[in-house]
């Protein structure tokens, strides 16, 4: 590459000199000046060409390294007998959330058969995010993420692993299974949250910090080394069931957005009114889950209403 550049430069140089000599005629001063100017022009042009080449090369190399890294890790760390290789391993850049877009986040918690049915019926949209709920992960293990990724290969998949310790291990597990985002509890030790966010960046997945039972999320955010991608304001299922007076702290949405450049997800209940309320309060992602006793139709209706009404 260097030789080619040198040859081109030499040609440029000769051409420029001849043009300047023709213009300059016999005047020696003008000849020297034109000489200096031509050299500087040539150097400038060469630098620009080099810069463009470097940029292109870095991009190509980075892509290569990423895929190689993932494949190597997998072969070293995972026991092939137990761990079946997921078909959709790589996270594409398409599967990142966009600002100024509203998302519906559907949490699947009951069993894989039901999850499959729900996924087959919900409308195909990039604005619908699918969560592999904690009970599913704890029942089926990492297989739950792989299966759901298979059912919905084009959707953004969230692994609700609710990490509280051993973050590097958990992030690696869910990222290799094909998740696009992973969750960590805001109540976890700060060391865990920091290492969680760092690992998520390493595996190119979104980090979600779940603020369940955290009275003031800003206090947690202040202590972190890096800002996560998504903050989830959360009222737990048991809390909702046993203490109906507990409210989702909508006022915190603007508070957090005022200081940090993050997406806000809110567990918005399961009626369209509550979803509207969350979106009105500036939430980017609204989380709904299908309660065990309610029919599947309920969640499909909500998905359709959401896509129609909320743009």
């Amino acid at each position: 590459m260097k030789k080619k550049g040198g040859f081109k430069g030499f040609l440029f140089f000769i051409i420029l000199i001849t043009i300047l000599i023709i213009i300059g005629g016999s005047n020696v001063l003008i000849l020297i000046l034109s000489f200096v100017v031509s050299i500087s022009i040539v150097i400038f042009i060469l630098k620009i060409i080099d810069g463009i080449k470097k940029l292109l090369n870095i991009n190509l190399d980075a892509n290569k390294q990423k895929t190689v890294g993932i494949v190597e890790k997998e072969s070293v760390k995972i026991n092939p007998e137990i761990y079946s290789e997921p078909t959709n391993l790589k996270n594409t850049s398409q599967n990142k959330l966009e600002k100024r877009q509203k998302y519906l986040h559907i949490a699947l918690n009951n069993n894989l058969t039901e999850a499959k049915n729900i996924i087959s019926e919900i409308p195909d949209s990039r604005r619908i995010l699918i969560e592999v709920g904690t009970p599913l992960i704890k029942t089926y293990g990492i297989k739950a993420i792989e299966e759901i990724k298979n059912y919905a290969p084009n959707n953004y998949i969230i692994a609700d692993n609710k990490c509280v310790d051993l973050a590097p291990r958990e992030v690696e597990m869910v990222a290799l299974a094909g998740a696009n985002a992973s969750t960590c509890m805001g109540i976890a030790p700060i060391e865990t949250i920091n290492s969680f966010i760092e690992e998520c960046q390493k595996y190119n997945i979104d980090s979600i910090i779940d603020m369940m039972n955290v009275p003031n999320p800003l206090l947690v955010l202040k202590k972190l080394k890096a800002v996560p991608n998504i903050i989830m304001l959360h009222r737990g299922v048991d809390e909702t069931h046993f203490s109906k007076e507990k409210q989702i702290p909508y006022y915190q949405i603007k508070q957090i957005k005022g200081s940090y450049n993050v997406f806000i997800a809110v567990a918005g209940g399961d009626t369209i009114q509550e979803i509207r309320k969350a979106v009105f309060n500036d939430a980017d992602v609204v989380v709904v889950w299908k309660s065990f006793y309610k029919p599947t139709k309920n969640i499909l209706k909500i998905a359709n209403l959401f896509l129609d009404e909320i743009k």
């Binding site: 007998e81 904690t134 509280v164 109540i187 976890a188 737990g236 299922v237």
Partner: protein
């Protein structure tokens, strides 16, 4: 169910199924040694992982095999306890940092399904404050120093001073301490009056080491 008169050594498993079976072979068969299906292990293999651990340990120690499912429940207490119990676990864990409603629901469901409830005080500064708010007491309280906490901040210590305080007030609760990584730390856990000491780290770095810890422990409690 665990006895209040005995001491137990709890060994946490966090790696792959294959390694688990190799390591279990090294352990002396004793009902005083209890196994834990670690959180990453459960998240990787699910309920099947718990069943596997229970099965393989039962082969060695018979029907006294005791397995803890380290669920670290944060929400949906009832649902998670069912998962653990159906996998054959004898105990499950819930986080002390979870909403009080969840902890209450967790303890209640553990009682209903006849398994021990363990409340993990990871990240809790004053375990007392949480115990006071509960409707019923758990069977075991775990005093915990997180792995990530320790890796990044070596000054954090297991809070042994809490053991006597809790036992003085609630005499029906067993105390388990987690975070010990050497024979010395295991011993100091028992000297400080904990009923269960949890080890995990030395197990992977040197399985032989854990075997020795286990044997020493069995000698000590005789």
């Amino acid at each position: 169910m665990l006895s209040k008169k005995s001491k137990y050594l709890q060994i946490a498993f966090n790696k792959s199924l294959e390694e688990v079976s190799q390591m279990i072979n090294l352990l002396p068969p004793s009902p005083k040694i209890i196994l834990e299906a670690g959180t990453p292990f459960i998240k990787q293999y699910g309920r099947e992982g718990i069943k596997f651990l229970k099965g393989i340990w039962s082969e060695k120690v018979g029907n006294k095999a005791y397995v803890v499912a380290d669920l670290k429940t944060m929400d949906r207490g009832a649902r998670e306890v069912k998962i653990a119990a159906s996998g054959g676990a004898n105990a499950a864990t819930c986080l002390g940092l979870a909403p009080i409603e969840t902890i209450n629901e967790f303890i209640l469901n553990c009682k209903n399904l006849n398994i021990d409830s363990m409340i993990d005080m990871l990240g809790v500064e004053f375990p007392f404050e949480i115990l006071q708010k509960l409707k019923t007491l758990p069977d075991v309280v775990i005093l915990h120093r997180g792995v990530d906490e320790y890796e990044n901040n070596k000054q954090k210590q297991v809070s042994y001073n809490q053991i006597h305080r809790i036992k003085g007030t609630y005499n029906n609760v067993l105390i388990s301490t987690a975070g010990a990584e050497s024979a010395r730390e295991v011993l100091s856990g028992f000297f400080n009056d904990s009923d269960i000491v949890i080890v995990w780290r030395s197990f992977y770095e040197n399985p032989q080491n854990t075997k020795e810890i286990a044997e020493e422990f069995l000698k000590l409690i005789k």
